[in-house]
């Protein structure tokens, strides 16, 4: 069963945030699919670039769990083809920024023993915590 989505202020806030971060007016998207069909990496993605645009527009937070934004190579094929002159790769970048700022640590410090921690360089530890973010 597809989950029901509510149109609420959270969704709108999310859209506004992405619009602000990316500088792209996502509500302009016509959903023509040009970006997806031209994308050289679309086969590696779980959802297509045009779906990213749609999900952000309707405030569907599930978009944050998709892999697409991490696969996007910012090659700008979509950007030069979009009939509405939207920059989809900037939207991907905005989503990545949001995800990174959630600062999810995928490693638990309590899993590391004190001895191990002594031997590891500090900077290496920090980056390990953030490594699998997203």
């Amino acid at each position: 069963m597809p989950k029901k989505l509510k149109f609420d202020y959270k969704g709108s806030e999310f859209l506004d945030k992405i619009v602000k971060l990316s500088g792209e007016i996502i509500t302009l998207c016509d959903q023509c699919g040009t970006c997806s069909a031209g994308c050289p990496f679309v086969e590696e993605m779980d959802i297509t670039p045009s779906q990213i645009m749609r999900k952000v527009l309707i405030g569907d937070m599930e978009v944050m769990d998709s892999q697409t934004m991490w696969i996007c190579a910012s090659c700008f094929t979509c950007t030069v083809r979009c009939p509405r002159k939207l920059d989809v790769s900037k939207v991907s970048e905005a989503l990545r920024q949001v995800k990174l700022r959630q600062a999810v640590d995928k490693m638990d410090i309590s899993d590391i023993s004190a001895e191990e921690a002594k031997r590891l360089p500090v900077i290496g530890l920090v980056s390990s915590f953030r490594k699998l973010t997203g």
Partner: protein
């Protein structure tokens, strides 16, 4: 001394309940003594009110009339008629806008409203003192019309006008009339044969006694203005003699059989070839041969004259010359139509590179010949894709607009193909299907029922297979979210529509305007859709924007009706509110020439500027550029405006603030009227002066206003898009810049001049703008009297 009659209208209480008219009378008497004849009446616009004016003109021998009543946009015409009836020139009358700009807008503050009314009336009287009689020049009108473009629009306009008895010259650049419609196979949604509908009309246009048909012709120049134009038309040589007793072409086809040159027939979109001597189509009108000098070997290197040899009638003349015809007309209808989008502009489609990517017009001809026996001229495979929005709704190629017809013609071509060859597998790739017309949605449904597959997605990638020549499309089906990559035997591009390139010359000659989409701009998008900003020039069909056939024909008939309405007046009055040059003051510096895009200012033989009254629109933009104040505008003379500014600020007390609003007549002044009608309150410090356009303002006028006590100035004009005279705001901004420099020089602080372009509905914006100024004035110091003295030389 002038004798001025001042009439105060109570407007059945609308004015007198707010404004104390007795106080106004006392004020006038105090300032002017018994010089004025002042009368108060309940309804000045009524018969009795008008009689008051006409009687006084006769009995009291009035020279000027001032009426304090509603907005001039309500009853100016009424009162002008009364003036004429009384025997005075209608241009020595002024209306003080008491109702809309005062009693209604400031209904809740009767005392302040009365004070404001005094200022308004004083200004009107000051202006009236310097009014002088103006004559409306009358120009005769004939019955001649030039129709440019022989497509369905041009033919319809010509026939309608010719039937009504007008003398029409119909000019077409190609050797045959009929335009794009004659090329189409069938029309949507009825699927009746396009050629069968248009060919009787084409024949009628040729045979009509009131139509002079000139084909294979080019317009070399159009001169003239308003309702008198002279066109130079080059009728290009066909190299064939017709209509002579001895050497007449009998269309025996011998020349065609012998001609060694084979080339693409543009009329057939390259689907069928033609010879260098040819008739473009079976339904061509006029049905005459023509030699194409670009491909004919005789014109290339003189190596061939076979057709001349074989012609039994000696009808071929290689040294025939172009004929140049001069036509004088009263009105012009531009119906030059559209060109389809050149798909090579966007290389991703592969058009021109891939063999099996064709345009929709080519497809029209392919489908037209599809059932030909033994075989159609162009073979197409079974898997066919239509790609929508090629050169429409695509900002990458600078075309934001929807071309309106592509969805329907693609559905039509697909349906016709499916009916003729049911084995074809047809896909239409679309973003949105726009089936807006009568019977269109039903037609779309029928196509779906036939099994034509509609896929929602725009193909992004086109690739040609080197060997099979099939075209691979990559597209996202945006509904199932699958990426589809598949081969097609034929890809049909649904090219969008753009203004035809041949229109560019016409635009130059007639100084027409384009709208943002690149098509010709109409005078008003709602109620003047076939007029242009140039008087006497009308537009019909796809030059104004993409259109299907029914809309084009409707618009063509509308244009014909507008031409008839114009010409039926038999004469035409020139509005006397025009610029004029004081010859003594003019020093021939030519600066004004650049400020008039209509090129209405010319240099006369004395080396001084002169206004061509037939071209001048009366916007006043030239005046700001004149360093000697030689240029001026009738009815809004510089002297009058100084007096008006003087009078409107004269009653100002030391502690009061004044925001002077120079309101252009067509937008800002009417906007203030609308505020009054809706009883919407706004700042009572405002004083509005009516202007022909914002271009009329000059730095000197603004500086004078500040000197006389204005604290801030707001200048209003129309939105550039809706402007009748689109350059005025530029001029105003320049004047403002100069004024600001002077203000800084004199040591006046703050941003005191505001310019805004108002639309008709911007009621709240107007109120807010005024409030903003008022707020910012509170933070500024008053302009001291010493500073004021520095501002302006004039006293």
């Amino acid at each position: 001394m002038e004798k001025i009659g001042v009439y105060l209208c109570q407007c059945g209480g609308n004015i007198s309940n707010t404004i104390d008219l007795q106080k106004i009378t006392d004020h006038l008497k105090k300032n002017n003594g018994d010089e004025l004849i002042i009368k108060e009446f309940s309804h000045m616009c009524s018969g009795a009110g008008q009689k008051l004016i006409t009687d006084d003109i006769k009995d009291q021998k009035l020279d000027r009339v001032v009426i304090a009543s509603c907005s001039p946009h309500f009853h100016e015409k009424t009162f002008k008629a009364a003036m004429t009836k009384g025997g005075l020139n209608p241009y020595v009358m002024e209306i003080a806008n008491f109702r809309e700009h005062c009693s209604w807008a400031h209904k809740s503050q009767p005392e302040i409203a009365t004070e404001k009314a005094k200022d308004i009336l004083d200004a009107s009287i000051a202006k009236a003192r310097m009014d002088f009689p103006l004559e409306e020049k009358i120009m005769p009108l004939g019955d001649k019309v030039l129709v440019i473009g022989g497509g369905v629009a041009g033919i319809q306009v010509s026939l309608d006008l010719a039937d009504a008895g007008q003398k029409v010259t119909l000019v077409e650049k190609l050797p045959t009339i009929g335009g794009k419609m004659a090329v189409l196979t069938k029309t949507f949604p009825t699927e009746d044969c396009s050629a069968c509908i248009i060919s009787p009309k084409m024949a009628e246009a040729q045979a009509h006694k009131n139509i002079n048909l000139i084909t294979n012709a080019e317009i070399e120049n159009i001169q003239g203005h308003r309702l008198h134009f002279e066109a130079k038309i080059r009728n290009k040589a066909r190299y064939i003699i017709e209509n002579l007793d001895m050497d007449q072409c009998l269309i025996c086809t011998k020349c065609v059989q012998e001609c060694p040159v084979t080339t693409n027939n543009y009329w057939e979109q390259g689907v069928i070839d033609r010879k260098a001597i040819y008739i473009p189509a079976v339904l061509a009108i006029p049905f005459k041969y023509i030699i194409d000098p670009d491909t004919c070997l005789h014109f290339k290197d003189g190596s061939c004259n076979i057709c001349e040899e074989v012609c039994p009638q000696n009808a071929i003349v290689f040294d025939q010359k172009d004929e140049v015809v001069d036509v004088a007309v009263d009105t012009i209808v531009v119906a030059t139509g559209f060109d389809i989008f050149d798909a090579t502009e966007k290389p991703v489609f592969g058009y021109g590179k891939f063999k099996n990517v064709v345009t929709a017009l080519e497809m029209e001809r392919i489908v037209d010949h599809i059932s030909e026996k033994p075989a159609p001229p162009r073979k197409i495979g079974n898997r066919i894709a239509f790609v929508q929005c090629v050169g429409s709704r695509d900002e990458q190629v600078g075309r934001e607009y929807c071309s309106r017809v592509c969805c329907m013609y693609s559905i039509k071509l697909a349906s016709l193909l499916k009916q003729a060859k049911p084995e074809k597998d047809i896909y239409i790739f679309y973003t949105d299907i726009r089936a807006f017309g009568k019977g269109y949605e039903e037609y779309y449904k029928r196509a779906q029922k036939m099994g034509i597959k509609f896929i929602r997605g725009k193909p992004s990638h086109f690739e040609e297979n080197q060997f099979s020549k099939k075209v691979t499309l990559t597209v996202e089906d945006t509904l199932s979210r699958k990426i589809i990559e598949t081969d097609f035997d034929l890809v049909v591009l649904a090219n969008g529509l753009g203004l035809s390139k041949s229109t560019d010359n016409i635009i130059d000659f007639l100084k027409l305007a384009k709208s943002d989409d690149g098509f010709l701009k109409e005078a008003h998008p709602k109620y003047k859709p076939v007029d242009t900003l140039v008087e006497g020039v009308f537009i019909a069909g796809a030059v104004q924007g993409p259109k299907d056939i029914p809309d084009t024909v409707t618009q063509a008939s509308a244009a014909a009706a507008r031409v008839l309405a114009t010409l039926a007046q038999k004469e035409f009055k020139l509005d006397p509110i025009l610029a004029f040059v004081n010859q003594e003051k003019c020093d021939g510096c030519r600066l004004c020439l650049d400020n008039c895009p209509k090129e209405a200012i010319i240099m006369n033989k004395n080396g001084k500027a002169e206004v061509n009254e037939a071209l001048c629109l009366g916007c006043g933009s030239c005046i700001a550029s004149c360093p000697t104040e030689a240029l001026d505008l009738y009815s809004y003379t510089t002297a009058q405006l100084y007096n008006q500014i003087d009078a409107i600020l004269n009653n100002k007390q030391e502690n009061e603030t004044r925001i002077l609003i120079f309101a252009d007549d067509s937008c800002t002044y009417r906007l203030a009227d609308a505020l009054g009608v809706r009883k919407m309150k706004y700042n009572t410090d405002t004083r509005i002066i009516r202007f022909p356009s914002s271009g009329r303002i000059t730095p000197n006028l603004m500086l004078y206003a500040f000197k006389k006590g204005a604290d801030a100035i707001m200048i209003g004009d129309c939105h550039k898009k809706s402007l009748r005279v689109p350059w005025t705001s530029q001029v105003a901004l320049q004047s403002i810049k100069k004024t600001n420099e002077k203000l800084v020089e004199a040591g006046v602080e703050g941003d005191r001049i505001i310019f805004h372009e108002f639309g008709a509905g911007d009621l709240n914006i107007f109120i807010n703008k005024v409030d903003e100024i008022s707020e910012s004035l509170k933070t500024m110091d008053k302009i001291t009297s010493e500073t004021k003295e520095k501002l302006c030389q004039r006293n």
